[in-house]
């Protein structure tokens, strides 16, 4: 199985707090891998390391076979897109938010392309000139995903993007991610607290606890976990 991302004995600490402990594992290329585990397990830190917002203290991370530190940070971040749970927006319209990634490169996203992106994430063109502050939680998440897609990342990191949304919006976004994965062959890593969602959308799953990778493999492992801690976690429906 070809790895889009490979972790080898990765450790990460901050302020004497050991957040990731000797983490080793892969995220398969072109697949959707869900990351599940209790809060504080280190899932978001994995994303920050992959996107280059943080660096491991020890160990190695490979992106498409190349050591992460061999990438220029700007190139790395354009190739490994990150959509955050809070979906932060810059002060401006939806169009201005969509134009941000190219604006950072001194280029301009044509309005027609922005409309196409909105359609892709299931938003009407009329949203283009709405102020970002006027959007609902679900709409913000969709704009945030569309904005991340502007850089055409090969790998997309989604950090609990549906946790604050109602079921209909959640399903909308699940379908959208499946479409993106299918259409562009994008490798997708998705942190979720919703085990049913992990089962519905994931090809593979990482179960993390207390900074360690406890179990990983095909998502069906959640239906019959071998590790006692994972079994307990699944029994609690991922909420413990």
């Amino acid at each position: 199985m070809e790895a889009a991302i490979r972790f080898e004995h990765v450790n990460y600490s901050i302020n004497h707090l050991h957040i990731l402990k000797n983490l080793s594992g892969i995220f398969p290329k072109g697949k959707i891998t869900t990351l599940v585990g209790p809060s504080g397990a280190g899932k978001s830190t994995v994303f920050r390391l992959c996107n280059g917002l943080r660096s491991a203290n020890t160990g190695k991370i490979f992106i498409h076979g190349k050591l992460i530190t061999d990438y220029h940070p700007v190139d790395l971040r354009r190739n490994v897109g990150l959509a955050l749970q809070s979906a932060p927006m810059i002060d401006g319209t939806v169009l201005e938010n969509l134009q941000l990634p190219l604006q950072l490169q001194g280029k301009k996203l044509p309005e027609s392309e922005a409309k196409h992106l909105l359609q892709l994430v299931g938003l009407d063109n009329s949203f283009l000139h709405h102020h970002a502050n006027d959007l609902s939680g679900g709409q913000r998440q969709k704009v945030s995903i569309a904005r991340t897609l502007v850089n055409r990342p090969k790998i997309l990191l989604l950090d609990e993007i549906t946790s604050a949304l109602d079921r209909v919006s959640q399903q909308d976004i699940e379908n959208l991610i499946l479409r993106i994965n299918e259409k562009f062959g994008t490798t997708i890593l998705w942190i979720t607290h919703n085990l049913q969602q992990a089962l519905d959308v994931g090809d593979y799953t990482w179960v993390m606890m207390n900074g360690e990778l406890v179990e990983s493999g095909k998502t069906s492992l959640l239906e019959s976990p071998t590790d006692d801690r994972v079994r307990e976690f699944v029994k609690g429906d991922g909420t413990n």
């Binding site: 971040r77 990150l82 990634p101």
Partner: protein
């Protein structure tokens, strides 16, 4: 003014002390300390200036300016402890301000190259630059704290550190320089500037006093804008490492 007259003016110190005591404001101790300190400091400066003006030696002028820069740096650096190497950044800023303003003033022969002009103008410029520096560092740190998600958003999309803090930098530069610009709009209508008032009281021609005051106001505009921009562009790179990662712990530990 005679020393007797100066002694009589202490009545203006007694008024706040009596009011503070009557109303239990607790300001007596600080008022007395402020009066004693300002009296000693100003009298000392008066005697030093008297000596420097009479000696006509440039070494003393340079020493005075170094002393001003050291004092201004010591005062302003407390507000920028989250910024690595803030002491030297402030020193560079104050030296740059001094060279820029004096270079233009003396180069264009706007004022004569004597201690009588160089020292008071340097004091006003460095002092103003210090206040601006404190205002800027306060605002810039607050902006960074309040907009951490924006900074990380721009970095995560492939922006550079400069792009990631651009808005915060501009806000802090604007916020710290606006008071200087705004106060000049009402100058002469609401308040008579201290230097001009001092000159008039000392018997100078009011028109001449206005001319010098205008010179100082124009200089203050340059000082304000250059201080904020220079300090901003010297400061922001220390908040990122070589992998273009935002070191937010530095801001949070403030």
């Amino acid at each position: 003014m005679s020393y007797l007259n100066l002694t009589l003016s202490l009545v203006f110190v007694l008024i706040p002390i009596l009011l503070s005591k009557t109303l239990n404001l607790g300001l007596e101790k600080d008022t007395v300390i402020a009066v004693v300190r300002s009296t000693i400091q100003l009298l000392a400066v008066g005697f030093i200036l008297h000596f420097v003006f009479n000696s006509k030696n440039y070494i003393y002028i340079i020493l005075m300016i170094i002393l001003m820069i050291v004092a201004a740096t010591h005062n302003a650096r407390k507000k920028g402890t989250s910024i690595q190497g803030i002491t030297w950044k402030l020193v560079v800023t104050f030296i740059f301000i001094e060279i820029l303003t004096q270079g233009i003033l003396l180069g264009l022969q706007i004022v004569p190259p004597t201690a009588q002009y160089i020292i008071p103008i340097s004091g006003m410029m460095i002092g103003n630059s210090m206040v601006l520096g404190i205002l800027f560092l306060n605002r810039f740190t607050a902006e960074l704290k309040n907009h951490q998600d924006q900074t990380e958003l721009i970095l995560s999309l492939g922006g550079t550190p400069k792009q990631a803090v651009h808005n915060q930098l501009v806000s802090a530069i604007k916020a710290s320089t606006i008071p200087t610009i705004e106060s000049q709009k009402t100058m002469g209508l609401v308040q008579l500037p201290g230097m001009m008032s001092g000159q008039i009281i000392a018997g100078a021609d009011p028109v001449q006093a206005v001319q010098f005051q205008l010179l100082v106001l124009f200089l203050l505009l340059t000082t304000a804008v250059v201080t904020a921009i220079l300090l901003g562009f010297l400061s922001y790179p220390t908040l990122f490492n070589e992998r273009m990662q935002f070191l937010k712990e530095r801001i949070q530990s403030e």
